[in-house]
């Protein structure tokens, strides 16, 4: 079941890198889990900790990388991640949005995303907001100032607002917007079309019978 997303106001963390790949978001050794949970402490593991991580380690005993932005205590409790182009490139692992959500982020803002990550995010109630390059630049300038800033991502009005009069709007597919706002079960929705699926199969089995020699 998809988590709902309506509106989020929170601190924004600036992760000033392009092409952040899913191997960085959640390294492969953590993909051995058969659960959907437990990934938050290993978000950005290679950047966040100085010692190499393995599943089952007590993360509270690991050495933190003081230069990594997530470890900056000023951003503690942040719920919005700000990034650069092509965020989430690489593998199809849904563990990436799971880790981001479990860490506490509700939304990501970037100029562009890799397709599979973008898609996976919606399935879990993580909102990937696309803003224009110059708007993202402005947010980076705000977020990297002396004091952290709070911004608001409002899905209903499709806007991002922040300090110093920052206001930007974003596009989103109507279907995805509805699913997020209502936290809909996508499989349940699709199964409402069960008759259409069966009708398709019947017709296709005539046109391409070799595909249906079950």
């Amino acid at each position: 079941m998809m988590q709902q997303f309506v509106k989020e106001t929170g601190l924004v963390v600036p992760l000033d890198r392009a092409n952040v790949d899913t191997d960085q978001i959640i390294p492969k050794q953590y993909l051995k889990s058969i659960k959907r949970t437990g990934f938050g402490v290993n978000l950005f593991d290679d950047w966040r900790y100085l010692d190499p991580g393995e599943p089952g380690m007590d993360h509270t005993k690991r050495r933190l990388n003081p230069d990594f932005v997530l470890n900056d205590s000023r951003f503690s409790g942040a719920s919005i991640l700000l990034a650069r182009d092509n965020f989430g490139c690489g593998s199809s692992r849904e563990h990436a949005p799971w880790a981001i959500l479990e860490y506490g982020f509700k939304a990501v803002i970037a100029p562009s995303y890799a397709d599979i990550f973008f898609n996976n995010s919606f399935k879990n109630g993580l909102l990937p907001v696309i803003l224009a390059e110059n708007e993202v630049d402005t947010l980076f300038a705000l977020a990297t100032g002396e004091t952290p800033v709070e911004i608001t991502v409002d899905l209903q009005s499709q806007t991002v607002t922040g300090p110093e009069g920052f206001s930007a709007s974003f596009d989103i597919d109507p279907f995805r917007k509805t699913c997020l706002l209502e936290g809909l079960d996508e499989i349940g929705l699709s199964l409402k079309d069960a008759d259409s699926i069966k009708a398709y199969e019947t017709k296709r089995a005539v046109d391409a019978p070799w595909l249906f020699r079950d």
Partner: protein, 471 residues
Amino acid sequence: MAGRTLYDKLWDSHLVTQRDDGSALIYIDRHLLHEVTSPQAFEGLALAGRTPWRLAANLATVDHNVPTENQSAGVSAIEDPTSRLQVQTLDQNCDAFHVTQFKMGDPRAGIVHVIGPEQGATLPGMTVVCGDSHTATHGAFGALAHGIGTSEVEHVLATQCLVAKKMKNMRVTVTGPLGFGVTAKDVILAIIGQIGTAGGTGYAIEFAGEGIQSLSMEGRMTVCNMAIEAGARVGLVAVDEKTIEYVQGRPYSPQGADWDRAVEAWTDLVSDSDAQFDHEVVVDGTVIEPQVSWGTNPEMVTGISGHVPNPEAIDDPIHRGATERALKYMGLEPNQPIESIRLDRVFIGSCTNSRIEDLREAAQVVDGKRVADSVIQAMVVPGSGLVKEQAEKEGLDVIFREAGFEWRDPGCSMCLAMNADRLGPGEHCASTSNRNFEGRQGAGGRTHLVSPAMAAAAAIAGHFVDVREWL
């Protein structure tokens, strides 16, 4: 009516219902599963009290976690308990839901993107999905194939459909002929170098032109496999005689009257001559040389005669910063010749380059030679049990072993290092895999993406060399 692209045709023939909000339900003919991205999907299915919509559409195998030694011992050969549990979980799920699975030790098991085509489970005109981004591989057959997330794995299991939005059409035309000694891997790396890691985002890329048509089916799989490294979920090649010849006679391929009808239908799986693409790119295939990646994403690549770039010469600050960071991570100097990069390990394998032709290509280079003393480990990991058997029939295993390579059992292995095969911190690896991200092959490891021939030559020389001079 304007002509349709191959992608348009595949989309149209699988459209179940178009919704008013722009999304659509498309039908999935083949669903491939592996142990890493499926457990949570099976769990979700069970919790909701659902069952697979159409069992015969599913085919599962274990590949990411499996050790590449002593596989015939089965699951007990997996030392890491979390890996073992994940493999056992797939076994249990497939048994409980009656999904066909090639279990560990079955000669038909192997990397999911190798076994689909090998079994004829991937056919032209199909839609093929898998919880793995390299599903684009199967597009080499004129099939609409792409990676999906775990929620979508559950959705496909439950409904045999995906909620999808039509992608845009891009055509990458590679002119020819390709130069002597230039392989499919060099072609796709050169394409990514030209259009970038996000160049194909939002598109289905059709690879066309003499430089693609001249490739074997296995070469085309290598090209489509890495479409995702250019940002495109889908890579496609039009069906031709090579496609049909490759598919004929495989265990899951149509037979008898079905075969004749299928072949007739498949001949239409080409873009119409008047089809319109949203974006067209032309790559001059005649000038591509063997490629070597120097950085931490696949667009950071150059020819064997090239040099590591100098960040100071880059104007764009984000690009410059990324290059500086990559050089630091990779332990390389600005302007360093590619040929001067020394290797600690060599890995020949992965869903990109572990098929029989890849192994022949590498064996030809190493035949009668020895792995350099400075190379700690050189390993060959066939893509499937059947590829391994075929290679052994041809004596390739002997050539590799005599040259000092390790000859392993099939699996994903060091491509992503989920099993015991991995790089140590700071080690340089000539790898025939598909991703050179930081830590991909082991924490602190430094990956250089190359073709099987280039990896083989690097193993012998201990540093990169132009393999064309050895052929």
